[in-house]
């Protein structure tokens, strides 16, 4: 057999039927469901008298609309103050009950952001096809799975048929070799990648992330990288299975056990690109060259290293790009040539399916420990990605570090990543955010988002403006302080 990429293998393994017109039926192993993109799909099933093809492939949880604020959250679904948000969450409850779909309800231990709970419970596994009505489904590709977002019509299609009608994508390899400098994280790597290939650079491709930096990266770091593949235009991002993957998956509640585990590992260890596999496009970066990144514009490709200045549109040769940059600077209230480190922050958000896992919270806490947020920063939200992450963080005492620093410790939800619950930016406010999109209005009407890593966000919260987290002076130990 000809040499195959990881994507080729995953595609081949899920091919139910290839049609003459180039389209194909692809089997879906896992379908994650949340309240925003599913109501119309369930309604479609009802109207046509159809039922889910395979109920055990479905897992649902509410995440986008649920409150992060502790008191409101404690009152459960009935306590959601926003009427339409409450109706949407109630509708998910009703649909899951009517169609017998397993759901981790609003305050149940398994609840969390879909892309956080999938890997952490073993509901998503290597070698699977994973879909969800959410573009950040690419996250699960970190496990060596083929995972991508779908629209609501496809949510209904997958529920009704267990399949998707697809056309094979092209193969792209993004290699990051060398070594990352201390303080530089997976988020900086993926922001640098998006900055390099552009927000449409991966359109039509599945991206495999490889190279020494990715191989050494933790699973959570790989999830952060794959999560933002869509920000480079690629529906799917993926990483080959290795020992780090197996060690992560082993023991997860829904992962195979005993003899089945051994059989699974036999299959999973082939989930990598063959040595001589052909990629349609190869992009290379060096880990040493990547500095902590900060986005300055209204597209994730508009990023710069912390040491840089806001770029000048006049220097851009392409007219469409130049216009886009000028519009972005106007919206963001920034001036060409100003230092990135001079951008002042009104709010800070640490959370989202990109950066709300335990390692992210540890990184933020390491910076926040023994320090306090700047007075000029109105609010610092720390929103764990799942109930499990929250429990773990509290076990480690991270929440106390945050609270002592003047940060707010919240409940698992998508929160200010897209501001569907009450967590929003005001017009004109600048936010250091660990989320994935800096589009106009994304975090609130007129809000100005700067995408950064969790440690950079925490550092900005302390300083009140962006700083290179690597240059922050260490905090003296407790006994040395007066």
């Amino acid at each position: 057999m000809a040499a195959q990429t990881l994507y080729d293998k995953l595609w081949q393994d899920h091919l139910v039927k290839a049609h003459n017109d180039g389209s194909a039926l692809i089997y879906i192993d896992r379908h994650l469901i949340h309240e925003v993109t599913s109501p119309q799909a369930f309604e479609g099933l009802r109207l046509s008298g159809r039922k889910p093809w395979r109920k055990d492939s479905l897992v649902a949880t509410p995440d986008h609309n649920v409150p992060s604020e502790t008191v409101e959250r404690a009152a459960g679904v009935q306590g959601i103050r926003d009427d339409i948000s409450r109706i949407q969450v109630q509708t998910l409850d009703e649909n899951c009950r009517d169609f017998e779909v397993v759901q981790f309800g609003i305050n149940e231990p398994g609840q969390g952001i879909v892309h956080v709970i999938g890997p952490e419970t073993g509901a998503t596994l290597p070698g699977m096809t994973v879909v969800c009505g959410d573009s950040h489904t690419s996250t699960h590709g970190a496990l060596g799975a083929l995972a991508h977002g779908i629209g609501t019509s496809e949510v209904e299609h997958v529920m009704a048929t267990q399949c998707l009608i697809q056309r094979k994508m092209k193969n792209m390899l993004v290699r990051v070799d060398g070594e990352l400098c201390p303080g530089v994280t997976a988020k900086d790597v993926v922001l640098a990648i998006v900055g390099k290939i552009g927000t449409a650079g991966g359109t039509g491709y599945g991206i495999e992330f490889g190279g020494e930096v990715i191989r050494k990266m933790s699973m959570e770091g790989r999830m952060t990288v794959c999560n933002m593949a869509i920000e480079a235009g690629a529906r799917a991002g993926m990483v080959a299975v290795d020992q780090i993957t197996l060690d992560y998956v082993k023991g997860k509640p829904y992962a195979p056990k005993g003899e089945q585990w051994d059989r699974a590992v036999e299959v999973w260890k082939h989930l990598h690109s063959d040595d001589d596999a052909n990629f349609d496009e190869v992009i290379e970066l060096r880990g040493e060259d990547i500095e902590p990144q900060v986005s300055w514009g209204t597209s994730p490709e508009m990023v710069a290293p912390i040491s840089a200045r806001v770029p000048d549109p006049a220097a851009e040769g392409d007219a469409t790009k130049r216009t886009g940059m000028m519009r972005a600077l106007e919206y963001m209230g920034l001036t060409a040539g100003q230092n990135i480190s001079d951008i002042k922050l009104d709010r800070v958000f640490i959370g989202s399916c990109t950066n709300s896992r335990i390692e992210d919270l540890r990184a933020a806490a390491a910076v926040a420990k023994g320090r306090r947020k700047a007075d000029s920063v109105k609010q610092v939200l720390i929103v764990p990605g799942s109930q499990a992450v929250k429990v773990q963080a509290e076990r480690e005492g991270l929440h106390e570090i945050f609270v002592e620093a003047g940060f707010e410790w919240r409940e698992p939800s998508c929160s200010m990543c897209l501001a569907m619950n009450a967590d929003k930016l005001g017009a004109g406010e600048h936010c250091a955010s660990t989320s994935n999109r800096n589009f106009e209005g994304r975090q609130g009407y007129g809000g100005r988002t700067h995408l950064v890593s969790p440690n950079m966000a925490a550092a900005a919260a302390i300083a009140g403006h962006f700083v290179d987290v690597r240059e922050m002076a260490p905090v003296p130990a407790e006994e040395e302080r007066v």
Binding site: V16, D21, G22, S23, L25, Y27, V36, T37, P39, Q40, R54, D56, V59, I84, I87, Q88, V102, L125, G133, D134, S135, T137, G149, I150, G151, S153, E154, E156, H157, A160, T161, Q162, C163, T199, A200, T203, G204, I230, G233, A234, R235, Y254, A255, P256, Q260, A264, V267, T320, T323, R327, L418, A419, M420, R437, F439, E440, G441, R442, Y445, G446
Partner: protein, 215 residues
């Protein structure tokens, strides 16, 4: 799904690259559990000068006089002319629902984001990719001539200008077939139920851990 065969419509220019789905329909409108009614909030943040909320009547809201959708000459438009990477970002199908609900039947751009592109076909909305220079010329002609109308012929795969000039376009054979006949994708897939069951049985044999773990 409604069929698309031929459509003649007034062209509305959206002269901006990388239009994301948050811009097409902001998040607060995603709380709806319906598929319809998104039209008045299409491009909400560009179209109005104040913040929009779900269930709020838009008729009295202050409109942005600089946004083409508000120009008298573009009222009743049904062909959207756009720039590169249209529909990037989120997978929300509310974006094509909003475009459809407003009255658009086709979108012409040099490139589209993958998920949005795919979502359009599920809703009888035809996304057409044309070379950048061709799109640029269409922008110039739309700006120059009031009442600029294009005819889109899916069967012939042609966009026809008022001058009679025909511009050919490519379209995926499967999508074309479904659009021309207004076919329901689910119904088509279920015709292959036997194949799906056979695949599933083999997969259960080969990878039993993928089944019944979650009950």
């Amino acid at each position: 799904m409604k069929a698309f065969t031929q459509h003649e419509g007034l062209v509305v220019p959206m002269d901006r690259a990388n239009v994301d789905t948050d811009l097409i329909i902001p998040k607060q409108f995603l709380k709806s559990i319906k598929r319809t009614g998104f039209g008045p909030n299409l491009f909400d943040e560009l179209r109005y000068l104040d913040e929009g909320f779900p269930d709020r009547d838009c008729s009295g809201r202050p409109r942005n006089p600089e946004f083409p959708l508000n120009f008298p000459r573009y009222q009743g438009g049904s062909v959207l002319l756009a720039r590169e990477n249209f529909g990037c970002g989120s997978s929300r199908e509310h974006a094509p629902w909003a475009l459809d609900d407003y009255g658009f039947r086709a979108i012409i751009a040099p490139s589209f984001a993958d998920i949005f592109f795919n979502n359009c076909f599920k809703n009888g909305l035809l996304p057409i990719v044309l070379p950048e220079q061709v799109v640029h010329r269409l922008f110039e002609e739309t700006h120059a001539q009031a009442g600029y109308v294009l005819t889109i012929d899916l069967e012939q795969q042609q966009v026809r200008k008022p001058s009679g000039e025909a511009i050919p376009f490519e379209v995926d054979a499967f999508h074309k077939h479904c659009l021309l006949n207004g076919l329901d994708h689910i119904g088509l897939t279920l015709e292959h139920s036997e194949d799906i069951r056979a695949y599933e049985a083999a997969r259960r044999e080969k990878a039993p851990w993928l089944f019944d773990a979650i009950q």
